[in-house]
């Protein structure tokens, strides 16, 4: 019985977290956009516009369901659910703190990659079901982009997994700090198992993993259709892309899925490359910073703060770089990121055999 309650509480807690995160992130996004462009952002609703997003969501909740008369009503209604659920299930295998993980899965990364790919089907359903040329064009672009960028994401994850030798995200997190069951080497030469901190993170365990992380970051930006890879919802060309016809709570769910996806790729990158719940502070002699700042509470704090930092970088990039052209997008993926990630994959194999033995 207790187990059942936990199984119910966990997804509800994650959903509440995602909803709160989205409210906060939309506000942050608009403020960052404002500051980058020397504007103020929302200022009128509440002090410094703090309740702006709450007002927005209340407005969306009140709106009526509008289904275009020529739309495929089943696909149209199911698409937001599929899109959101695909992203939401992805959170089930992500560890938030030591052994604090909704589902302790041995094939964690594999499961996550498989589930998140369903997102693409949801987008196609939305685009096709809307029966609108802009939605369909947006959906087609989204599919082309997401399928292409799945490859560098997958390859970069494999490159990391070859180093970790496990697909379990909880075990991967353990391998990057003072609690590691194995010996950790900074760049392959300096044993930092007892020192921990920032030196034990995967990005610093091998020189090429930093490149792998950059590949992963760029490709994951494209995965969640963020600028500069936002051609599926290019406002200037396609109105809103696949969600042109959506309004009210359905649109709210598409929006929620978008921000949940942002957080998911941020937390995934954090868990696999940036030390998960491990602290960035190393042990220095008698000052055991790493030991002091490891634990359940600290773990949650580090995971969330690192992920929010990555989300902040995603927003910063969004408000800096202009949108890619479709052919440039494909060039970047197929001619640069994929060969590079294959190279990193090969280096990972060699590194595993030659250095880590």
């Amino acid at each position: 019985m207790a187990e059942l309650i936990i199984h119910i509480i966990t997804p509800v807690a994650i959903f509440i977290f995602i909803a709160c995160f989205t409210l906060f992130a939309v506000y942050a996004e608009r403020k960052i956009a404002g500051f980058v462009q020397d504007r103020l952002g929302p200022m009128e609703t509440g002090k410094y516009g703090l309740t702006q997003t709450i007002a927005d969501i209340l407005k969306l909740l009140q709106k009526e369901f509008i289904t275009p008369s020529k739309a495929d009503s089943i696909l149209f209604a199911a698409a937001p659910i599929v899109i959101f659920v695909a992203v939401f299930i992805g959170f089930s295998v992500v560890p938030w703190a030591p052994d604090f993980v909704p589902a302790h899965l041995h094939t964690g990364i594999f499961f996550l990659m498989a589930v998140v790919s369903i997102d693409a089907i949801g987008i196609l359903m939305a685009g096709w079901g809307s029966n609108n040329k802009y939605s369909l064009l947006g959906a087609i672009r989204a599919i082309a982009q997401m399928v292409s960028y799945e490859i560098p994401v997958g390859l970069s994850l494999i490159a990391a997994v070859m180093i970790t030798q496990t697909l379990n995200l909880n075990d991967i997190a353990y391998l990057q700090g003072v609690k590691s069951p194995e010996q950790i080497y900074f760049m392959g030469f300096w044993n930092v198992t007892d020192i921990g901190g920032i030196f034990a993170w995967h990005v610093f365990q091998a020189p090429h993993l930093l490149v792998v992380y950059i590949i992963f970051f760029i490709a994951s930006l494209a995965e969640c259709n963020r600028a500069p890879f936002d051609i599926p919802e290019a406002e200037s060309e396609l109105i809103g892309g696949f969600h042109t016809e959506y309004g009210g709570i359905r649109f709210a769910f598409l929006f929620l899925a978008e921000y949940a996806m942002m957080f998911l790729v941020a937390i995934l990158g954090t868990v696999i490359f940036l030390g998960a719940w491990n602290t960035p502070l190393p042990n220095i002699g008698v000052l055991r910073f790493a030991d002091w700042t490891t634990g359940l509470g600290w773990g949650l704090f580090w995971t969330v703060s690192k992920s929010l930092f990555i989300v902040g970088i995603q927003m910063w990039i969004r408000w800096t770089l202009p949108r890619f052209r479709a052919d440039q997008l494909m060039t970047l993926c197929w001619k640069i990121l994929i060969p590079l990630s294959f190279l990193c994959l090969a280096i990972s194999g060699l590194w595993r055999i030659m250095v880590m033995i």
């Binding site: 960052i32 500051f35 504007r39």
Partner: protein, 187 residues
Amino acid sequence: MVLKTTIKGFSTAVKGLLLTVKHLFGARRSRQAYNIQDKNYFDLQEGITTVQYPKQKMPIPEVARYQLEVDIDDCIVCDLCAKACPVDCIDIQAIRSSEAIGHTSDGSVKRLYAAKFDIDMAKCMYCGLCTVVCPTECITMSDKYDRSSQKLTDLIYGFSEMSDAEIEQRKQEWSIFQAEKEAAKNK
């Protein structure tokens, strides 16, 4: 070729990111409402530029072309402003008087009543020609520029201070005077 464009793309992206992050942290400062006549006006390039309008106003020059203002006590109802107006936004109706009504502040004699002195601010193009031709300088440009209204007709400002009854009375006085004059001529 691909390598070269990629490297160039990344380096320019980094350059752009550094530029935006500079603005992001520059947003701690806010540009104050400086007068455009300030010598250093164009040196202000950093910080937030937004002026939160109704709460915060930009200083305006002392002499500038904003909304028209009429001091009806000084008006001699000469109709010159209405004639000078290129867009015909001034509508004046005069009632003649049998004797001098009074004097304006600069000593001109008033002989006409202004039954109607309407300026349609929706039509006005703020050229200021009416203020130039006015002999008594009663029509001037004020420093007000932010009057907005819900109805278009609210933008027609009436400056005449005469009531309907008064207008009727003055009209009658004039017609009586005319009739008397006519009678005197016919005698």
